[in-house]
Amino acid sequence: MALVKTPSTLQHAQPALDDAEVERIRNDFPALAQEVNGHPLVYLDSGATSQKPRSVLESEQEFYEQRNAAVHRGAHELAVRATEAFEDARAAVAAFVGVDPDELVWTSNATEAVNLVAQSLATATVWAERGRGGAETRRLALGPGDEIVVTELEHHANLIPWQELAFRTGATLRWIPVDDAGRLRLEDAASVIGPRTRVVAFAHTSNVLGTVAPVGELVALARRAGALVVLDACQSAPHLALDLRALDVDFAVFSGHKMLAPTGIGALYGRRELLDALPPFLVGGSMITTVTMERAEYLPAPQRFEAGTQRISQAIAFAAAVDYLAHTGMDRIHAREAQLGERLAEGIAGMDGVRLLGPGPGEEWHGKGRIGLAAFDVDGVHAHDVGQYLDSRGVAVRVGHHCAQPLHRRLGLTASTRASAYLYTTTEEVDVFLDALADVRAYFGVA
């Protein structure tokens, strides 16, 4: 029997990427090999957006050079090639998160995907009021007395669409609070999620705390209440092996640009029968069967949600991105980033006058360790100034509220600084960052 408990983050079947592999990986990312302000770039802002490997950049270029055409229309050869590549890309990204291709809808980003779900639920409500749609669609309608549940740590992208849905339908928005440290109060979740709950939306991984949500517990509560589950996988899809079917969520959203793909492409996963029951979000070309001057019939999902000319090259490049990640191995990436996250947490927590947000070094919340991300507050120095100082040493971090104002307010802050790693981050980069951070308070004369 093991006497020492291994943190679950370190119990990966696959070993973590090692330093030599990371060096090889870095050669694939042209943007990493540059100097900034006289120092080698230390890019610790992958939580905001990732850098892109050459294979992704080339796949987009290759599409435009060889196959560029509009998809799902036109009988010519290029249109056929483009359509095939576009649908193959859907299959690749769907497989990467463990779902079927026809359950994956392209969106611009995660934000648009959450809005798609929320606004389509609002539309379902209008349809129900006006007697349109089948029984499945009517079941999706919301109204006064219904409740939508989020958590206090959400990114604004997974909060504001639900505020607006509540406003439009007369439903009530409720939230699972966090404690003084930012930990979800699961003991309160059981009373917040109840028989009136219709939707439970939460982040798989917090973009501020680096924590992984207790998905199983929250899904179980939602199921008991008969509520839909919407998972914001924006910070999990890039960093850990994701099996959405196994997580048993109804919808999930993520953005390509945070996982090696270009900007402008994201995805919504929706359980097949739900997507087919949901009214469309944007309407127009490419998503219809028959149109008269009075009305239109809509295609089944996913086309039903893909109005207008699509983001074809971005979708194809997204597939190249998930190929790169899958080939490297998500478990190995996760294990590596857990080590970097731990190094960040230890270094930051050990510094005088710096407050680490989220779990302490070695700490697990809800049975899971920190991913490769750490936000912190420097006593006496505003986050903007911290970021500016680090930038002068070549270190790129994110400063501000990271689109999570309610969480910052709850933690007694208006802003924080965040360092976030990815598969190309070296151990030395974390140390360069920590060395620079150690000098910040002295520079601003508060230490």
Partner: protein, 161 residues
């Protein structure tokens, strides 16, 4: 570009000293903040927020006899935004309205110039220390925050003077 050109000593000192900070009701002729209060002749107040980072500042200006009689402020934010409010307090109090307008315009021109416009210490006084900020596009908003609030507050104060 060196960081010290952005964070001049004078800026770091002002960021700590925060001259003119504190909207004590007794120092003005109006209770701070509360919405719906009646305008007081010669007094204007404006709250400005930088949505990017949540920095905020409230500036209250009292105008009489064509001059800024008092400019006080309250806020929280980075060293650039706090220092620029502190410097503004020193420069604006006692300035004629024309002089104040000229000051704000010169400050704005310098900040928006991406380093092309050199600071004129004759017009800008201590605010010339913010010259380096113009090369950091992301920080121009920080430096302007209190000044935009002051401009708005002065406009209200004038309208009711």
């Amino acid at each position: 570009m060196s960081l010290d050109s952005l964070y001049q000593q004078l800026i770091l000192e002002h960021a700590k000293a925060r001259h003119g900070s504190g909207l004590d009701a007794s120092t003005g002729s109006v209770a701070p903040g509360s919405a719906g209060e009646l305008p007081v002749p010669g007094v204007g107040q404006s709250h400005q927020l930088n949505p990017v980072c949540g920095d905020e500042v409230t500036v209250r200006v009292e105008v009489s006899d064509g001059a800024i009689r008092s400019l006080r402020w309250e806020g929280q934010g980075c060293s650039i935004s706090m220092a620029s409010a502190s410097v503004l307090h020193g420069l604006a109090e006692g300035a004629g309205l024309g002089e104040f307008d000229e000051l704000v315009a010169a400050f704005r021109d310098m900040l928006r110039s991406r380093g092309a416009v050199q600071a004129d210490p004759e017009v800008l006084g201590d605010a010339a220390a913010f010259e380096g900020v113009s090369r950091y596009a992301a920080r121009v908003k920080c430096a302007m925050l209190a000044w935009v609030a002051a401009e708005d507050a002065a406009r209200q104060a004038r309208a009711e003077d």
